[in-house]
């Protein structure tokens, strides 16, 4: 059973995600005794060995790491021309690097953004920038620590595909896309803030028989 949600439905996934091999020497970073997962924006995501060692299936649609895409573009060119190559970014990688690598961002059929932990909200801004500033129109997929309680936010920021973490039910997650029916602020899914979508009541209308009785001037 697929754990991919696309356009509000669970669908089969015909893309293969290409991972980077583990680095030769693992540079475990610690902070106050805790292993640090998060990297600073702009840090390199892979070593040359990892990039050359990434195993790309010989056929079929693949989503490759940005570092692999940048370094092995020639090798992927023929497949990319057939719209069979997508690219995924770590939350700390720079969109600018991806943009510089293609003449037209919409030549990519799929971009995926990795959430190393669900609390890493950089992916929300990366998605927003892809959809607004860079006018990307094709599939935008959330991968990694993708859980139902962040789905609504992801959707509003322009993600249209969600690869739900494999130990969780995609079926359950679908329900969370409808957590709120009419949000306040504009976002990618609907750029209009609530006051441009609805005629809202002013004080006069609100106090005519609504929730709070208007408080009369003090009683002396």
């Amino acid at each position: 059973m697929s754990n991919l949600i696309k356009n509000n439905a669970i669908v089969a996934d015909d893309w293969t995600l290409v991972a980077l091999p583990a680095p030769a020497e693992d540079t475990v970073r610690k902070q106050a005794g805790k292993v640090v997962i998060f990297k600073i924006t702009g840090e390199p995501a892979a070593t040359p060995e990892q990039i050359s060692g990434a195993v790309i299936p010989a056929a079929g649609k693949v989503i490759v790491p940005l570092t692999v895409w940048l370094a092995r573009k020639d090798e992927l060119a023929a497949r990319a021309a057939k719209s069979e190559v997508g690219v995924w970014l770590e939350s700390f990688e720079l969109l600018e690097d991806l943009l510089a690598s293609v003449a037209d961002i919409n030549s990519l059929p799929l971009i995926a953004i990795h959430f190393p932990r669900f609390v890493d909200g950089r992916g929300f801004s990366l998605a927003t920038q892809l959809r607004t500033r860079y006018q990307y129109r094709n599939e935008l997929r959330a991968i990694g620590d993708v859980l139902r309680d962040q789905l609504y936010f992801m959707h509003r920021c322009g993600f249209d595909a969600f690869s739900i973490r494999t130990d969780r039910s995609a079926e359950d997650a679908l329900a969370s896309l409808r957590d709120f029916s009419d949000p306040y602020q504009g976002a990618v899914d609907n750029p209009l803030p609530v006051w441009r979508r609805h005629a809202r009541v002013s004080h006069h209308a609100a106090t005519e028989g609504r929730v709070f009785a208007r408080h009369e001037d003090e009683v002396d």
Partner: protein, 553 residues
């Protein structure tokens, strides 16, 4: 004040349902502790030393009597019959049960209240001047802006997972009472040379472990762009703010690392793409929201009231209260009143359910049924007629709400500290109480005059100790509780951070240290000089010498 329409109400109701389901899944083991933590935090629920603590939003500190009665009711039914007003102008319950929080939220929703984003790594409740709308020095009423910003920031999808908490304050008065320079974003509203409302944008201020005052990154922003500009700031922060170290994750660290100029450049570049977009505030929306805060409900009164003057002349206790707890009002014949939650022996900011109801009743009788919470942790009746002040005082006095100490040494700002908070290194409430007991003589307090004493139990600085004239910070030294003292900090338009006077002290020595600081001031002050003025005139050294004299001998 602002009244919900169906859209606001639906969002709050849907939030209750969402949080109820999240809690159900957590209790059923479908969400791990790590997964549930950010969800409950963004709903104001901390797991504390003894029990969870629930922080309920009081947007910009404004509430009505019905809401306050509901808080009293909730504190009786779900807690121990009291609550705590915080330095974020919010209301906290110290003993709710985790399982009952969805029910508490459902109760709150019936009076248009919630706990949305009162904690967690998101845009927090936006704060302002407790005298907004009534202060004589006000230039622009900040409340319509904050209400528009409150709505914009509620469940903002792009900023639901920021590197760290994000606090905004808005000031619209000549004298800043909102600490704009100590916030992640501080907005100052003013009238520009064309007489139009403009915004001065401060970024990167904050207290906490690394106290820094903010920097102005834009001197003049047309008010219509407040949301798109803040979005640009938040986007730059969300993308580039550090996440590898929680202590370096606030925006102030990013602004410092990039330099304010480079930070501003990135913001401007991002903003240029969205300026004049749909997020631009329209005059119609501003007018609609402003209509809820419109003036014009006051009665026309003379500037003087004979009964008030007579009561003040004949009753010294009332006169002392009127001097400290009654504040000027922009409308003739009206005053704002601070109900003191700083009675000696009571934790600063605490109020019982009974006191909450008394305050609600006072608001109904004398102040348009509305109340405000100040960041100094007191409650304000903002619109009281001069002729009613005596009656307010009599009732407040009976219920322990009329301690005439506003702005005096015992009007201490104090976080819940080690008695309640699991982040704290040290207790803060017993320190506040010991100081209040030491300085319980009212005449002496009035003689000492205006002074701000702020206490925090740890460097998270909820008690704003860095900007206290005297700041007390609890620190952990080899497993025991010690207190570091700063002097010379200051809030306001000319805010500054205090200077540490020297090595820290054990709890029992703190009141004595305060006494020596005060004695130094009393002996050195010139006429009309406040404590803070003396510190700035003569410097920290004489105070330090006095306090550490024994050790030196």
């Amino acid at each position: 004040m602002y009244i919900y329409d169906d859209i606001d109400q639906r969002i709050v109701d849907e939030r209750v349902a969402q949080y109820r389901d999240q809690t159900r899944r957590y209790l059923a083991g479908e969400l791990t502790d790590d997964e549930y933590r950010p969800l409950r935090l963004q709903n104001g629920l901390y797991i504390q030393r003894h029990a969870p603590m629930l922080r309920i939003a009081v947007p910009y500190g404004l509430m009505n009597s019905r809401q306050l009665r509901k808080l009293a009711d909730i504190s009786r039914r779900y807690d121990k019959g009291y609550g705590h007003f915080s330095t974020r102008q919010n209301f906290q319950l110290n003993w709710p049960k985790l399982e009952t929080v969805p029910d508490i939220l459902a109760e709150l929703a019936t009076v248009q209240m919630h706990a949305i984003q009162t904690s967690g790594s998101c845009i927090r409740a936006i704060t302002t001047d407790q005298f907004a709308g009534v202060a004589p020095d006000e230039i622009v009423d900040p409340r319509p802006f904050i209400e528009i910003m409150r709505q914009w920031s509620s469940f903002h999808p792009e900023f639901a997972g920021l590197p760290r908490k994000f606090k905004l304050a808005v000031n619209g008065a000549r004298h800043d009472r909102s600490l704009v320079q100590a916030h992640d974003i501080g907005l100052e509203l003013y009238l520009d040379s064309d007489g139009k409302i403009a915004v001065r944008v401060w970024v990167g201020g904050g207290l906490g472990r690394t106290p820094i005052l903010g920097t102005v990154i834009r001197e003049h922003l047309e008010w219509q762009h407040a949301l798109t500009y803040c979005e640009a700031i938040l986007r730059v922060y969300n993308l580039y703010g550090r996440r590898d170290n929680a202590f370096k994750a606030r925006i102030k660290i990013l602004v410092k690392a990039l330099g304010a100029e480079e930070f501003a450049r990135r913001v401007e570049e991002e903003w240029a793409l969205h300026k004049d977009g749909p997020g631009t505030i329209t005059q119609a929306e501003y007018d609609r929201v402003a209509s809820f805060f419109a003036q014009g409900r006051h009665t026309e009164l003379p500037a003087q009231d004979a009964s008030f003057d007579a009561a003040r002349a004949s009753n010294p206790a009332f006169a002392a209260w009127a001097k400290r707890n009654v504040h000027a009002h922009k409308v003739a014949g009206y005053r704002a009143v601070t109900l003191s939650l700083k009675k000696t022996g009571i934790a600063p900011g605490d109020a019982t359910a009974g006191q909450l109801e008394v305050m609600a009743e006072l608001a109904d009788q004398y102040s348009f049924g509305e109340l405000r919470v100040s960041h100094e942790q007191n409650v304000i009746l903002a619109d009281v007629k001069l002729g009613n002040l005596f009656a307010v005082w009599e009732t407040a006095r009976v219920h322990g709400l009329a301690t005439p100490n506003i702005g005096l040494l015992t009007d201490i700002i104090c976080c819940p500290g080690g008695d309640f908070c699991s982040l704290a290194n040290a207790k803060s409430i017993p320190i506040a109480q010991a100081i209040q007991e030491k300085f319980d003589d009212l005449d002496y307090l009035h003689d000492i005059g205006d002074i701000e004493l702020n206490i925090s139990g740890c460097m998270n600085s909820c008690g704003h100790q860095h900007v206290g004239h005297i700041g007390v910070l609890g620190v952990d030294k080899d497993g025991s509780e010690w207190y570091q003292i700063t002097i010379g900090g200051k809030q306001g338009s000319d805010a500054r951070l205090g200077t540490v006077i020297g090595p820290s002290f054990p709890a029992e020595e703190v009141p004595g240290v305060i006494e020596k600081l005060i004695a130094t001031y009393i002996e050195t002050r010139t006429e009309e000089e406040r404590f803070i003025d003396t510190v700035h005139r003569i410097g920290v050294a004489p105070f330090k010498a006095r306090v550490y004299a024994k050790e030196a001998a």
